[in-house]
């Protein structure tokens, strides 16, 4: 056990160093887009974004209940607590439609991102 505990921090250090490299690139400015969740609905439910560009999506959950922003097409999933705002980086996306939904209210909470 002690041997293992001794090894784990080393693994973490090397993992962290690896991870910190691209983090510097993440600081560069990206276009910001906003989506609100209100009464388990996304607004706007269709968001047009530039294709082939990385964007920063801010999802404001104005409901008191949490929601999980999820999209199979975008490979994204993130829990957003009631009254909280979440940051989700998306793209660069090829031209096309990318549906997303709220996993906790999948019937009502639906939308799509249109990259053009």
């Amino acid at each position: 056990m002690t041997r293992l505990i001794g090894k784990l921090p080393m693994c973490w250090l090397s993992l962290l160093t690896l991870l910190l490299l691209p983090a510097a690139a993440a600081l560069a400015d990206k276009p910001v887009f906003n989506i609100e969740i209100r009464e388990h609905l996304f607004s706007p439910s269709e968001l047009r974004v530039p294709a082939n560009t990385k964007i920063k999506l801010l999802v404001h959950n104005l409901d008191s209940t949490p929601e999980e922003f999820e999209s199979y097409e975008l490979n994204r999933e993130k829990v957003i607590l009631g009254g909280h705002k979440a940051v989700i980086f998306i793209g660069p996306l090829p031209v096309g439609n990318y549906p997303f939904f709220g996993e906790f209210n999948p019937k009502s909470a639906q939308g799509k991102i249109i990259a053009e």
């Binding site: 056990m1 691209p22 983090a23 990385k54 199979y72 490979n75 993130k78 829990v79 607590l81």
Partner: protein, 268 residues
């Protein structure tokens, strides 16, 4: 509400329960104590409540990508725990000694972390939606059905693995756990991509062939983190993680076998 709850709970429960059933079944085969398991689950449940209730604060950390980074760290830790556990289990396959506390605590940690990852989301979901009385009935019955289906599936899996000889079961179990561990890495990379710590992109797209939201897709997701359109970075790190695990297990298997043959020749 009912159907939504069933789907959410099954999706969360399957992953953790699959990992638990494979580990437990291998321990049974190797006559290793299974008492550690309940402590792992207990720690996982406590951790779920703690992690789930702090999710708001965690999400705000690191410029709003705290949730992604903590999730990815948990997944990386599970990978390391499974790598260590499989190596040890392969060793005990050839050298049946009483298992050391190292293996037992690492297996317990793997289970606790897996339960925390899935349990925290269930905690957030249940604690938020149980406040409205109209949905409470659907929420609870849906969750109970989801739990039931998830656990029955894993009980079947547990007994299926017990039906093999110990040697085959351990080899099969280690193979399956390699897939589970690889899935953790794949999903961890997805989180890092979402946090913009890894570059995004599309290596291929199999969503027409095997959609992620279909039943086989969901099962594969629970088992090995299936992703219909992974990014090149995800694929590269996944391949490296799987290769590292398989090479490490092969080495451990051969060392164990060699030690066994030298011990038998010494006895003669």
């Amino acid at each position: 509400m009912l159907l939504t709850s069933v789907v959410i709970i099954i999706r969360e429960v399957l992953e953790a329960a699959l990992l638990i059933s494979i580990l437990l079944s291998m321990c049974r085969q190797l006559r290793i104590s299974q008492a550690w398991f309940k402590w792992g689950v207990l720690a996982g449940l406590l951790g779920s409540v703690l992690y789930g209730s702090q999710m708001g604060a965690i999400s705000q950390m690191w410029d709003g990508v705290g949730q992604e980074l903590s999730d990815a760290s948990i997944q990386a830790l599970i990978y390391l725990c499974l790598l260590y556990s499989c190596r040890k289990l392969l060793f005990y396959l050839h050298n049946p000694h009483p298992a050391g506390s190292g293996l037992l605590s690492v297996m317990g940690a793997a289970i606790a972390l897996a339960v925390i990852r899935e349990g925290s989301e269930i905690y957030i979901y249940l604690s938020a939606f149980q406040q409205s009385s109209e949905s409470r009935m659907g929420l609870y019955s849906g969750s109970a059905i989801g739990l039931g289906i998830g656990f029955s599936f894993c009980a079947l899996f547990y007994y299926w693995l017990l039906s093999f000889s110990p040697r085959r079961a351990v080899l099969l179990g280690c193979g399956l756990l390699s897939l589970v561990a690889g899935g953790m890495v794949l999903q961890g990379c997805k989180m890092l991509t979402q946090a913009d710590w890894l570059p995004d992109g599309q290596a291929w797209d199999t969503s027409n062939l095997l959609p992620e939201d279909g039943l086989p897709g969901q099962l594969l997701y629970a088992m090995m983190g299936y992703e219909a359109s992974p990014s090149p970075a995800q694929v590269a790190i996944y391949a490296a993680a799987i290769l590292l695990m398989l090479a490490s297990l092969l080495l451990s298997y051969r060392q164990g076998a060699k030690r066994l043959s030298s011990e038998t020749s010494a006895a003669e």
